[in-house]
Symmetry: C2
Subunit: 283 residues, 2 copies
């Protein structure tokens, strides 16, 4: 693992690191914020970013380090896809699939299946690396994300709730099997047989795999992707049918930007720290 940068931030350290990923078969970068004091009890939250992002967007724009330092929580901010000249990207040159748009699943279809294994990378490889390199306990962590990363946070929680015990999202894609962004990406990554897609769709997953976690979602009412790509009502209805605990707040006038994320990230961090601390207390 290589240090790309380390910066003092609110008394802790905002780092960016690079390593050779077994899952993705390429070099991968991630951000890690470590609060001023790190102990074996330091809670860890994963942040998954949205379409077109790298590890930089969240760490430079969300302003999360201030409260993370105060609460003593570490934040892992991975890249959003495999990258490199060897990694195929959108044949149409779009920004909604390929580099910067890995959708947090393991591809089964060629040529994507060689590198596009963000599911395993986020669920297994990266937590193991973080634990080994930084002495953080990643056996039980929180997961949070924005847009495509909100989709990633939700499906990673439902698919691996023993590790990702708390979950929240900003403006998530909640039903990728039924909206254009998700349909395009899942057709590439998982193939045209839509029966295989449900395992990576939060609205479908909650129907079969509800959890004890209280899910927190914030959604801007002025989000330009609200009606076509996000459709939060689908998830509200699905959670209600199975009594999945959910708080989904429509935030009046907010858009899809990091100004929206920054405005409410403190509440999400508190949500995760409260859940992780309660879990530790009860364990």
């Amino acid at each position: 693992m290589q240090i790309i940068s380390e910066e003092q931030s609110f008394g802790g350290t905002q780092g960016v690191y690079e390593h050779a990923s077994d899952a993705c078969r390429c070099s991968m970068r991630f951000g890690l914020y470590r609060p001023p004091t790190v102990t074996p009890a330091t809670p860890v939250v994963f942040w998954l970013s949205g379409l077109t992002c790298t590890e930089q967007n969240f760490i430079t724009k969300a302003g999360a380090q201030r409260l993370a330092a105060e609460l003593g929580v570490a934040i892992v901010a991975p890249d959003t896809s495999p990258r490199g000249d060897d990694v195929p990207t959108d044949p149409d040159g779009g920004w909604d699939f390929g580099h910067g748009a890995g959708f947090y699943v393991d591809a089964t279809e060629a040529p994507w299946s060689t590198h596009y294994r963000m599911g395993s990378y986020i669920s297994d490889e990266l937590p193991t690396l973080i634990a080994a390199e930084f002495g953080l306990d990643t056996r039980r962590v929180g997961i949070c994300g924005h847009s495509m990363g909100g989709h990633g946070a939700l499906i990673t929680h439902f698919r691996c709730a023993t590790r990702f015990v708390s979950v929240s999202a900003f403006a998530p894609i909640v039903a990728p099997t039924t909206v254009p962004w998700g349909q395009k990406a899942l057709a590439y990554l998982l193939g045209e047989n839509e029966n295989t897609w449900a395992g990576f769709d939060a609205t479908a997953l909650v129907a079969t795999s509800p959890t004890a976690a209280h899910i927190l979602i914030d959604q801007g009412s002025a989000d330009p992707f609200l009606d076509d790509q996000l459709q939060p009502q689908r998830f509200i209805d699905a959670c209600r049918r199975v009594n999945q605990p959910l708080t989904l707040r429509m935030r009046d006038g907010y858009t899809h930007s990091y100004y929206f994320v920054a405005s409410f990230i403190d509440e999400h961090l508190r949500h995760h720290v409260d859940a992780l601390t309660a879990f530790a207390d009860g364990a």
Copy 2:
């Protein structure tokens, strides 16, 4: 004046606006954060950014909107130079003079004197525009900045202390007449006669024009520009000689980045709001 963008942020509005500048004879953009409630008593702070920046760096990376909303303070974040195809830039193609590097002075030398009039723009034109367009009182404001913008904040205060009544800076260029960045820019903008430069050098200005303001400066100890370009001890010594109130804090391990700015921006906002409120109370 044209609205480029307006985003909800912590219950207020982060806007970016563009207007035809009389001072700079080109289109200029600026950021303005308005807190949730704006009254005639809303304090206003100007933020001046450093080399290579636009109006975007501060508004996306400093995380100032959170406390600005809480304290009810507006923040004006101008661009750092005139721009456009008609505006000459560094003949050597450098990033330390020209576009993105106007040094907050009025040029006297051709070809720079046509557009490079950031001194008048910041001191007069922009405050007048902000007052007219947004109903904010800009007769007495605070001014703060980073690096080249720290230089700008300090000289603007010393040259116009009746309007810019409170001042603070992050890692400012305090003595541009004696360091490479300043010498290069001032030679272009003001000509080779160095006698004219002192009026735009904070360390020289404080010797002749000390003020009643308590100046706040933060400086990172791991700043790569500390020894060659910043040299804060020059300003400390000059302030001491004339009893200019100054608090200059060396921040252990911090660099020159916006992680440094973000870590301490809250204290600077409180510094300005306290000073502006005290001024209003005493008026």
